[in-house]
Subunit: 141 residues, 2 copies
Amino acid sequence: MDNKKLIGDLLHAHGLKKTPIRTEMLALFMDHDFALSASDIVAKMTAGHDRVTIYRALSSFEKHGILHRASEDGQGIKYALCGQHCPDEPHTDKHAHFICDECHQTYCLEDVKVPKANISNEFSVTGVSYTLSGICKQCNR
Amino acid sequence: MDNKKLIGDLLHAHGLKKTPIRTEMLALFMDHDFALSASDIVAKMTAGHDRVTIYRALSSFEKHGILHRASEDGQGIKYALCGQHCPDEPHTDKHAHFICDECHQTYCLEDVKVPKANISNEFSVTGVSYTLSGICKQCNR
DNA sequence: ACATAAAGTGCAACAATGTTGCGTTTATCG
DNA sequence: CGATAAACGCAACATTGTTGCACTTTATGT
Ligand SMILES: [Mn+2]
Ligand SMILES: [Mn+2]
Ligand SMILES: [Zn+2]
Ligand SMILES: [Zn+2]
């Protein structure tokens, strides 16, 4: 697990400081294949850090195109890592997401493309979101 | 505007009581072509009613298939009227929705169908949501 | 019209998410 | 090493949504 190196490079590449908190946060994202909310992170962090710090780091990561919003239901926003090809700024996904009704995890469906919108040109479409729900692969077996 | 009659019938058809608050709420939904949140409703109601009452009415309407969730971003849930053919229970939409980045209104795109999901059968899909964003027809002109 | 039961309402209290301001600490770079 | 900007922690706050409980209103049947 030389994620440590990767994370340092990632932060540095975006002009962000490599602090223990942010390093641990990004390690958490790399260790999970589902999206994480601010409170998920607070719960999984070893030391007890302030919620505000986590919120600000998430915002910063989103602003720099390191994380994207994978889902935002009533219970809050869940983030997931962006791909290496993602632009260095906030952006919408080109892939679909799946929310499990049982375990409430959100998965990125990297290989399911968001369908093209077919809509009256009275509307200017700049973002599209395609979210599936049901029972995930884990809960299904 | 004989919506009054329609509303009475609608409530009665679902075994709900026809109270002034619920009547006014449904009238509000009929008078707008975009979705409304609980706080939108509180603000638009003539008398000052308790938020809790509005929340409970919205839940009841959703449970009976009178309203559906048109969007739920971080700022809350917005509801819109269901079609006449909708089942008498909570259900997911078959149409897309549009969220304006400028006025922040949510519109039902009744004639834009939600694309069929094409996904690994490790996942059991029971719901699909397709949400577009950008600039709406009002803000565009 | 009246009694009754069920549904709806209001108030208080609470939990969770997310924000802002401000003073302090820490990382990075010359 | 010292300066600067970023990051952190704390307190305080706003908003959304929930729950419990007592009270009121609506619908129903006699
Ligand atoms: Mn994703
Ligand atoms: Mn709709
Ligand atoms: Zn699951
Ligand atoms: Zn608009």
